[in-house]
């Protein structure tokens, strides 16, 4: 089984995009890929401790999906960590803007990193943005 490096940048706060990012992350990680997630902009606040993970739908599909038994995106990100080779980093800039520190974030997140480090890590692999 060949391993692919996948870097997932998540900036949207919409349900559909968060769900798709979590699906790619979990499926990639459980399939043997090396997955790094970078959470920034509107995506970050969902990963502050205590956030329910309820995101607004962007369109019709998201509204329909909300009524179905689809695995919650925060749970899928955690499955990626549990079953595969993945790490999820909050963006240090977005943390500064929100005024949160490491201890405010979900405990399963890796250390905060900046864009320079994310892009350096992503070299030679695929970058997907949601």
């Amino acid at each position: 089984m060949s391993s692919t490096k996948i870097s997932v940048m998540v900036v949207s706060g919409s349900l559909e995009r968060l769900q798709m990012a979590a699906m790619v992350t979990s499926i990639g990680a459980v399939s043997g890929d090396d997955v790094t997630v970078f959470l920034s902009m509107n995506a970050l606040s969902y990963f502050v401790k205590g956030h329910t993970g309820t995101a607004p739908a962007e369109g019709e599909f998201g509204r329909i999906m909300s009524s179905k038994n689809v695995p919650p995106f925060k749970e899928l990100f955690q499955k990626a960590l549990e079953f595969g080779d993945a790490r999820i980093h909050p963006c240090s800039m977005a943390m500064d803007v929100l005024g949160v520190t490491d201890k405010d974030m979900e405990p399963y997140l890796a250390e905060p990193i900046g864009l320079t480090k994310f892009l350096t890590n992503a070299e030679g692999g695929r970058i997907l943005t949601f």
Partner: protein, 76 residues
């Protein structure tokens, strides 16, 4: 004798059934089988892809009254 564990993932959508299957695979021994019940048609085609990619074995896939029975064998 080969042991077979049944996991009921009916009613959950992709990738819920796959995640339940992977969780179940961690608990069984090499050579044992797992039967996943799923109502998600997408998972019925996607799970064999995952099994082949990571090197386990597909035993059978059958559909009865809208329920897929996906039987896999842990190979490693």
């Amino acid at each position: 004798m080969t042991a077979r564990t049944v996991i009921d993932a009916r009613g959950t959508f992709c990738p819920g059934p796959l995640m339940e299957l992977i969780g179940g695979m961690k608990l069984i021994n090499v050579g044992d089988e797992l039967e996943l019940l799923s109502t998600d048609k997408g998972s019925a085609s996607d799970i064999p892809e995952w099994i082949n990619k990571v090197g386990h074995q597909m035993v059978s896939t059958t559909e009865e009254s809208g329920v897929w029975h996906i039987v896999v064998r842990k190979a490693k």
